[in-house]
């Protein structure tokens, strides 16, 4: 079952049209506004109409008429790109991201720009300069983050799919919280051209879908080599899976470090159930070890801020974005005033961490060490996949969606929301989260991890699991 396929087929069959889709999405966006999700930062029915007219004028493509929401750290020429930050308020990019160009080329319409943690730094979408995003099922809770806006609009059935971005779990984690599918491709599979950089060696444009099929269709359009991004690999786009995989004879590894003794009982129950489903489908399930994954969060919080501190240096008030001339009127005053007023507390915190770990005298102790650990973390995965394990399965998040405000005063507790996703980002591997059950009505996701560039195989396993499991069943009942 795929919402994306339904739309494409209906338009192809003449039962619907891009114009009709544009009006429908506008109505859904308006409805979402009345629900005060605060998931969307920019949309307009005029812009949707223009998208529909543009699609009418082009030949039929793989995504004709499919409305896609775009995280607001992916640049678009039709709407502003703010990154959820005051420092870029009102900024309109003169170019579209490669992923956006490819979506539009395949006939998709850009429906909206979605709210996010400022510069994608956060795990709850509370760190947006434009207010927090509410969980579609419980407004007192967070949708996860940093791609919380994109997750919320898909979960609320505003659009069937959306682009988010991952640096350490920013799509898989909100997918888990919101009960939808989130797919992070291999690093280098999707062009980062037009993704506003946070941690360049980790950043991946990633996809939300109502179902695995929805996400897979989007990924197959946006992936593939891009001459504008020197870190993309020279490989064709990911292929659509033929359908749910047969798990007969397949080996799924369960990394023990991802099932700690103190794991939330609901999460344990949900993953246990998913594991039995995998067995029932014919998979051989085997415990494995990824010993260095326990260092993933601290390693991540050295490397990502180091790169971020450098990537965010360009927001200095000199060329674009917010400019605050400081007291004294000098150059340093401009920098201090602009950056002090433009960046929120979490971004400032990470810039400070990143500047510190790269400083003379600290570089080896932090940055060099973190790079060494990163290599070990990646080697762990290589070893496991080299020993006959086809895919790995883990919980996506240690808990279901937490309450708004619960972790904002304690950054480390917030950072630990990424404990099961960060290692995969550091290793550059593809992974996906799909809903495997509920805990007191709140969705929880399971995570599939694949060897590099095996997105298609992973998606097929995801489809098989998705088909066999009831994502709305209470895990503890």
């Amino acid at each position: 079952m795929s919402r994306v396929a339904e739309i494409v087929d209906a338009i192809r069959a003449g039962q619907s049209s891009p114009g009709a889709m544009a009006r429908e999405v506008a109505a859904r966006l308006a409805l979402a506004e009345t629900r005060a999700l605060n998931a969307v930062l920019a949309w307009s029915s005029d812009a949707l109409d223009r998208e529909a007219a543009r699609i009418d004028g082009q030949g039929r493509g793989a995504l004709t008429g499919v409305p896609v929401a775009i995280k607001d750290n992916i640049v678009t020429t039709e709407q502003p790109t703010t990154c959820g930050s005051k420092i870029l308020e009102g900024y309109v990019s003169p170019f579209d991201a490669t992923a956006v160009v490819r979506l539009r080329g395949a006939g998709a319409m850009i429906a909206a720009k979605t709210n996010l943690d400022e510069f994608a730094m956060g795990s709850s979408t509370e760190h947006s300069a434009f207010g927090r995003v509410h969980h579609p099922l419980d407004p007192a809770r967070v949708p996860g983050g940093s791609s919380g806006g994109s997750a919320a609009v898909v979960a609320a059935h505003v659009v069937p799919a959306a682009l988010g971005s991952e640096t350490g779990g920013s799509v898989r984690q909100p997918a888990s919280f919101c009960g939808i599918v989130g797919v992070k491709p291999t690093y280098g599979r999707v062009s980062r051209y037009g993704l506003v950089a946070f941690g360049s060696s980790l950043d991946c444009i990633s996809v939300f879908g109502e179902t695995t099929d929805d996400a897979a269709r989007i990924l197959s359009v946006i992936s593939g080599h891009d001459p504008l991004d020197a870190t993309t690999v020279d490989r064709p786009p990911t292929e659509m899976p033929d359908g749910p995989a047969s798990l007969d004879g397949m080996t799924i590894g369960l990394p023990q470090e991802y099932f700690p003794d103190d794991l939330d009982p609901g999460v344990r129950a949900a993953t246990d159930r998913a594991v039995s489903v995998l067995r029932e489908l014919g998979a051989k399930v085997k415990p494995v070890s990824l010993p260095h994954s326990r260092y993933a969060v601290p390693t991540y919080y050295v490397i990502a801020p180091a790169e971020a501190a450098s990537n965010l240096a360009r927001y200095d008030g000199a060329r674009y974005g917010q400019r605050v001339v400081g007291e004294g009127g000098g150059l340093r005053d401009l920098y201090r005033a602009t950056r002090g007023a433009g960046f929120g507390p979490e971004v400032r915190r990470r810039i400070l961490i990143g500047t510190y770990v790269l400083s003379a005298g600290y570089y080896d102790a932090y940055y060099t060490k973190a790079q060494q650990v990163r290599v070990r973390i990646a080697q762990d995965f290589g070893q496991v996949f080299g020993q006959g394990v086809d895919y790995l399965f883990t919980p996506t998040t240690p808990t279901p969606a937490f309450a708004a405000g619960e972790r904002t005063e304690d950054p480390v507790s917030m950072y630990l929301a990424d404990i099961f996703t960060a290692a995969i980002s550091l290793a550059g591997l593809p992974a996906m989260s799909l809903p495997i059950g509920r805990i007191d009505g709140l969705p929880i996701g399971g995570q599939l991890i694949a060897p590099a560039f095996d997105e298609t195989g992973m998606l097929a396993v995801g489809m098989a699991l998705e088909q066999a499991i009831d994502p709305t069943a209470e895990a503890l009942s």
Binding site: C83, A313, T355
Partner: protein, 474 residues
């Protein structure tokens, strides 16, 4: 008390590419501000760098020209600092894994004879933009046309021993880079920039003294002046019992002095780290070999060949002719067209070179210059007349002989005509004739000059003297 001066130079040369280091914008000079910019070199959100293969190739060629080791794998790194003309807040450069290390520049030092100056490293980087402090009163304007232009930074060892050697090193380096088509090395256009490190110590000392860095030198002559001023300043300090503080100084060409940069401008921790937007730069051997083929003959080799091949020219001729590739090539074509090598060297080093320096072209095809030289050799025109013809040839496509005829500059060896001119002169100067006949024979030169004048340069001076002697005797 004497001091030994120790100098190392960091030279930035702009690589001769059409487009910038990491984007497709044109590299130009003198265009209106901010007209060659794009999302990449403006550092707009979401833009990413892609290395310019030609710039990488020229960097490799530069390394080969200096005899350096080209590393098959090097790493781009970010150098982080805030400045308005640095759009991303970092410069993409190379740090601990440069494109190449090793290499040397050889030249003849006036003080020490033949010297070998080691090259420590050569790395690739992008240029920053330009801050214009004098455009708007009290404000700084920024021109980003230059931002992202491809540069090679060439760092020498602390092997230079005088400001004059520093200058000679630069002349040689520029010659090598120009020869191989790596850079046009114009300090005026900013395509070659020099920073210098200088310290002094007692002769025989092996430990380096405290160094200072000198910047803002806009010509080779000013490099020598600035380093002389800094050497004298350091010597003065030490001789008065003071000490040198490690600092950065700016040269002021109007006063010929150096002054310290404001402290806060130099206290940088650049926080270098590997550029995550670019994979390591991996060069395959075929690319390196291709650049080796493009290298062509280097100046040192050409100079040696000239001395071997052109038997009549001097070592100095060979040095001067090979200072610029264009000059050397022109000289060779003139000889190929049949001119005597020594005479060709004289013409190329003087008349042809000044014409070239003035207009940027030689103006006269090599075969025409060769035939002009031939006319002098054959005695058809005098050397003096030939220089007039040369000037004329710059304006016209006529054959040198036709020009000589048109301007009536052909030498006349016809004895009857010569006799007529001589008779005219002797008649005009009866007193001198009388003095000559009384034994004042040094007046012969005077008579020859007068005959040349009367003949408007057409008389063959060799033929004039016997005719004069004959008529004076009679």
């Amino acid at each position: 008390m004497t001091w030994e001066t120790v100098i190392g130079l960091e030279v930035h040369v702009q690589l001769a590419t059409e487009s910038k280091m990491f984007c497709g914008c044109a590299v130009t000079f003198g265009d209106p501000p901010n007209t060659h910019v794009c999302p990449v070199c403006l550092g707009l959100p979401g833009a990413l760098p892609v290395p310019n293969a030609l710039a990488v190739g020229l960097g490799v060629r530069a390394a080969l020209a200096l005899g350096a080791t080209v590393h098959a794998r090097s790493v781009f790194a970010r150098k982080n600092y805030f400045y308005p003309d640095l759009p991303k807040g970092y410069q993409i450069s190379q740090f601990d894994r440069p494109l190449s290390t090793g290499g040397a520049v050889r030249f003849t030092s006036a003080e020490r004879g033949d010297v070998v100056i080691s090259i420590t490293r050569l790395h690739l980087e992008e240029d920053a933009g330009k801050s214009l402090h004098d455009r708007f009163p009290g404000k700084t304007a920024v021109d980003l046309n230059r931002a992202g232009a491809p540069l090679a930074e060439i760092v020498s060892g602390p092997d230079l021993r005088s400001p004059a050697e520093a200058r000679a090193y630069l002349v040689t380096l520029k010659q090598i880079l120009e020869f191989s088509g790596i850079s046009d090395c114009s300090m005026e256009k900013g395509s070659l920039r020099v920073d210098a490190n200088l310290s002094i110590r007692r002769p025989g000392e092996t430990i380096l003294g405290t160094k200072t860095e000198v910047k803002n030198m806009n010509s080779f002559a000013n490099v020598e002046r600035a380093l002389t001023a800094e050497r004298d300043r350091q010597a003065g300090l030490l001789e008065q019992g003071g000490s040198v503080t490690q600092t950065t100084l700016l040269f002021d060409a109007t006063t010929g002095t150096v002054r310290p940069m404001r402290i806060k401008e130099e206290s940088h921790d650049y926080r270098y780290f590997p550029e995550p937007d670019l994979p390591p730069l991996v060069l395959d051997q075929s690319l390196i070999e291709h650049q080796r083929e493009q290298l062509g003959e280097l100046p040192e080799a050409m100079q040696q060949r000239f001395v071997r091949q052109y038997r009549n020219i001097t070592a100095e001729d060979a040095f001067e002719l090979t200072l610029e590739k264009g000059l050397a090539q022109y000289f060779e074509r003139v000889v190929e067209a049949g001119a005597d090598d020594k005479k060709a060297a004289n013409w190329v080093r003087t008349e042809a070179k000044s014409a070239y320096n003035e207009s940027g072209t030689f103006g006269i095809a090599p075969d025409r210059l060769a035939s002009l030289i031939g006319l002098v050799d054959e005695g058809v025109v005098s050397l003096q007349a030939a220089k007039r013809i040369f000037t004329e040839l710059l304006q016209t496509a006529e054959e040198p002989r036709h020009v000589a005829e048109r301007l009536q500059l052909l030498q006349v060896a016809d004895t009857d005509q010569l006799a007529a001119w001589v008779a005219e002169v002797l008649a005009a100067f009866p007193d001198e004739v009388a003095r000559y006949r009384e034994g004042e024979t040094k007046l012969m030169g005077f008579f020859v000059g007068q005959v040349m004048k009367t003949s408007k340069g057409q008389a063959d001076p060799k033929g004039v003297q016997p005719v004069l002697a004959k008529q004076l005797r009679s």
